[in-house]
Amino acid sequence: MTKSHKSKLLILFMLAAIVLNITSCGSKPQQNTVAGSDEQKDFPLIIRLEGGDWGFPSPFAHYSRGPGMAKMRLIYDSLLEKGEKGLIPWLAKSWSISPDGREYTFVLNSQVKWHDGEILSAEDVKFSFEYFLKHPPVSNSLLIDGKPFIEKIDIIDENQVKITVSEPNSTILDRLGIVRIIPKHIWETIDDPKKVTDLDKLVGCGPYILTDYSQEQGAYRFQAFKDYWGPKPLVDIIEFVPVSDPVLAFEKGEIDLIKVPEDLMTRYLGNEEYKLLKSPAFWGYKLMFNMEKKPELADIAVRKAIAHAINVNELIEKVARGAAVPASPGYLPIDHIWHNPDVTKYEFDLEKAKALLNNRTLDLVLLIADDQKEARIAELLKINFAKVGINLKAQAVDMKTRDSMVKEQNYELALIGHGGWGQDADILRENYGVIVAKDSSPSSNVIPGYSNPKINELCIKQLTELDEESRKAMIMELQKIISDEIPLLPLYNTVEYAVFRPQKYDGWVHVFDHHEVTHNKLSYLER
């Protein structure tokens, strides 16, 4: 190859790389238009948060993780919303439930506008529920144990919708309330909503409009909807931007809020420039017992011995670096609205554990994910377990493999960490009620080889009890029995600290069942 040929080849290569980059990387998504507004001027408050790709924020296309769902919910409103203390009226200004618990009537706010200027109608509400039954969204609350429960939907008048369900159920108001309302005029002609990724189809009636999205950059830009029917948006623009190191980005002012790592807390504590907000402890680890594969675990004395042999405070100090609280043996964590503080507790006591084991020795394999924290937990458990005669061997696999092995009940002990501990107390049934299918719910897996008639009965009763106080009493009792039995052992629930600069924006708030301040729309709205 001659010199001139080589140079030509090189130049050709460089040009190709540059052209490829300009045409592909730089492609800007289509812009959305804001009906009847002139949003281009004077938006003083822009909040930037850590980005990352969580999918196209339509109810059908976002990724099955919290951040994806939260972005979608900025665009789409629901009949009810999660408030600081419980469900609050939203698109529905009021609702009523028939005495038999089968009819739910919602009265809609009038003059609610879609982002394209159309008016939201009761027809849209009916359409949304029916469309979701046919085309399930990523987050689908319209199934109980995998089965649909809506019998029919009637439009009473232009502002009232009545939903009839197949049987009374205490979780239905929550399930109906959080369903996103989508515009009929956009979706009625779409047969495969999963594949819709045009910004101009992303018309909701929520407080924000998505104006930019870049999947490969992991960047989103939301602009406040000028004609929003509800509380005034306090943040004019929310931008989710790619971040390499959140702490560096926060300190340089590139983003406005971070979850501060446990070891960096002191950097911000006592500094007037910053404010820290502690999250409720709704993410946690639990230890699963497979009593079928390891029948020794069916002995309650063995489970109690294990509970006494775990030094939860040590785990919190060494693994969570202090940013956690001991989990409740009754499952519902300390910050849950229906947490029972009077459950049976198991203090760290090796002598008691030995006595309960009564000179027995056990060989157990603990299934964990190949994660540093889980490995540390396993190591600490192993040390204390050895002192009471339990030989623990950790088996580390990647997260997906672990999930599959737990699902297939291919484990003896399994350590699982997940969120959602603040959800409706029906999570007790999903975790402990063997009467339901084993795959019925998030983060649950019914305990193999365990069944307790009292727990099962209460699980069923609370589900059909419509009186809140009576149901709450049942949940309290259920937690007590669960804590006595410990069919699975919750270890600890993590707390997170969000740090931000209050001079710039101080509206962050936690809703009653979620630990992430940036994931609820109330954080961006006037209260």
Partner: protein, 322 residues
């Protein structure tokens, strides 16, 4: 002869796409099971009925041979499928990321190659001299440092401490560029640190290869002849010696380009750069079969193309190679 080569290439390709189909499915785990989540994250789980519906939607409920048949049919039509987790066409996802990865590797190779080869030649020329000793030990050190560590150092000092470069990303988010030159400048500005990071590591490799290759060539008789003829040192080094020492360097270069797709994952991770390496990691973590297949296929094609180009270039440099 040509037919046999083509047949061989097709057979290789067929074996590869079959492996691409089998490998993701051999991994334990399931794309639809979500029991656990990263700390602080909430995940959405599905009931058996929902999982069955999703499997049917993606055609994963069919027997494996039917799935394989469909896969081959789609491949023949150039359809790489639809990503389960990322909810987008696999080719769209890949093609939006390829330019970033290729630019990153290509530019870092030019920088690393340029300096590595020149310094390698000088080091070989001054073999056992002070310059050689300093360069050699420095380059051995540099080539052994993991790229992410160099990246983190750059990030902390050049980007965060001195504010000379952006902290992350491939371009300014939501920027409204006045012209193409602005866009090029912005992309280049964001690419400098990742490119230099990879370039530094590559420089060490190129230095070591070109040094050892040059040392072998320097001892040849024709080099003595060249020196005896009084040819300028620079011309001897870079014209006569380097062209004879080029083959191992070319091999390294094309190997490096072949790894463009997956080889940059650590640097992409440090700078949150939108390349294919990070995407591949995510696809494997969530068991996104169609996307894993698509990325593996892209990698395979890239390696094959680079090997093919290396063969052509070899022949140009050394006519003895058939």
């Amino acid at each position: 002869m040509v037919y046999r080569k083509i047949l061989k290439l097709l057979m290789t390709f067929f074996v590869i796409i079959t492996l691409n189909f089998c490998l993701p499915r051999l991994m334990p785990g399931d794309p639809f099971y979500f029991l656990s989540s990263e700390q602080g994250e909430i995940t959405i789980s599905y009931s058996d009925e929902e999982i069955q519906r999703q499997r049917a939607y993606y055609g994963l409920d069919k027997p494996i041979m039917v799935q394989y048949g469909r896969y081959l049919k789609s491949m023949a039509k150039g359809d790489l499928g639809y990503s389960i987790y990322f909810n987008n066409d696999v080719w769209t996802i890949i093609k939006n990321r390829i330019p970033w990865s290729i630019s990153l590797v290509f530019l870092s190779m030019i920088i690393g190659g340029f300096f590595g080869i020149i310094l390698g030649c000088l080091s070989a020329w001054q073999r056992n001299g002070l310059l050689d000793k300093i360069l050699y030990s420095t380059m051995v050190f540099v080539s052994e440092i993991p790229p992410f560590l160099i990246g983190i150092l750059f990030l902390f000092y050049l980007a965060a401490h001195w504010g000379l470069f952006p902290l992350s990303g491939g371009m300014t988010p939501f920027a409204d560029y006045a012209s193409w030159t602005d866009r090029i400048f912005d992309i280049a500005y964001h690419g400098i640190l990742p490119v230099i990071t990879l370039g530094v590591v590559q420089m060490g490799d190129f230095f070591l290869i070109s040094r050892s290759s040059m040392i072998a060539v320097m001892n040849k008789d024709y080099m003595t002849t060249a020196r005896a003829k009084g040819i300028a040192t620079c011309r001897i080094l870079f014209r006569h010696a380097l062209s004879n020492a080029a083959l191992p360097i070319i091999t390294r270069m094309f190997n490096g380009l072949g790894q463009a797709v997956g080889g940059t994952v650590l640097v992409e991770n440090v700078f949150n750069y939108p390349g294919l390496g990070l995407l591949m990691r995510q696809a494997v973590l969530v068991r996104d079969y169609p996307l894993i297949q698509g990325i593996f296929l892209t990698i395979t094609l890239f390696v094959l193309i680079m090997n093919f180009m290396a063969d052509i270039v070899y022949k140009k440099f050394d006519p003895r190679i058939v």
